[in-house]
Symmetry: C2
Subunit: 190 residues, 2 copies
């Protein structure tokens, strides 16, 4: 997706060999016009799957999922990472590891909002070790629904997530795949 690659090259900031900061447009400040193009791209890739719901995880997946959902015309559900008095007790739970926060955390989705037989599209901003996506897939399976696809804005091609998911025959579409950052240089693998 050329417009996305251009923004990453122009605004991405590399920290060490593993961190790519794109918080000027993707996950702190949000460029909603770009998100419309991202949403349309996901729609092109997954429209034929008759998606009934988009599932993501708080926080930075929410904007991507919400704007993409305008094209799919389906609801979004976002998995929650923390307990809240607003969350039902009756939830599907799973566990994930955050690469950027360096910690394990539980994720939960109320059982009300994923029904048996639903055709789920999982969307997220980054794919690193794949643990968040696996936890979301676990929740979809617990609900008796199916994961029809996984859409990622930026996959880190040098971490295990992509290989892991493709090895499980997941229908994974990453709009951009970046290579390890040598000397602060960003290179793409797709």
């Amino acid at each position: 997706m050329d417009v996305l690659k251009k923004r990453i090259l122009e605004e991405g900031r590399v920290v060490g060999e593993e961190i790519l900061k794109v918080d000027s447009f993707l996950n702190h400040q949000i460029d909603v016009q770009l998100f419309q193009e991202i949403g349309q791209e996901f729609y092109k890739k997954f429209a034929h799957k008759n998606i009934t719901k988009i599932l993501t995880i708080e926080a930075s997946g929410i904007a991507i999922a919400s704007i993409a959902a305008l094209y799919f015309k389906v609801p979004v559900v976002f998995a929650k990472k923390t307990k809240s008095r607003n969350l039902d007790n009756d939830t599907y739970k799973s566990k994930a590891y955050s690469f950027t926060k360096e910690m394990y955390y539980d994720i939960q989705v109320s059982k009300r909002y994923i029904q048996e037989g639903e055709r789920i599209l999982i969307l997220d901003d980054f794919l690193a070790n794949g643990k968040a996506v696996l936890a979301l897939m676990d929740i979809v399976n617990q609900a008796g629904a199916t994961v029809e696809g996984v859409g990622i804005v930026i996959e880190k091609g040098f971490q295990d997530g992509g290989k892991l998911l493709r090895g499980k025959k997941v229908n994974l579409e990453s709009l951009v795949i970046v290579d390890r950052f040598k000397d602060g240089i960003i290179k793409f693998m797709n």
Copy 2:
């Protein structure tokens, strides 16, 4: 906003006298078509303010802000509640109290993403004690920008937030104001 009141009456679940669960369409599952109507409503109320950026707070404010931003054609910035390797060290910080999580937490915004002189619209899903909005306003002030308005989807009229903000002459627009829930009954004050 009648369509919103209708959804609250049909799907809202009252817990005790203070908690209104609207997670079927607002803050766990998201009805993006409704969010377009909410975004248009905020645009009607604040379009004349020449907003340059929408500020919200993770997580449930993000979807509201992102879809509203499509009408304003401005970027969204969301304040972060937790530390992350992705967040700059150079941030504006403030402190808020969560009514639903019953705890204090720090919020942060990178100094890169609010500039002096910007005209900020703050959007959020709920207004209870007003502490989250006050913390966001504090951050806008630290940046030398101005808060041109605060838009809330559901204000709890029986908590102090609305009174507090209106007392400070904040340009507050709540799409719906609910009264205390007696015997599980939802009544509106606007």
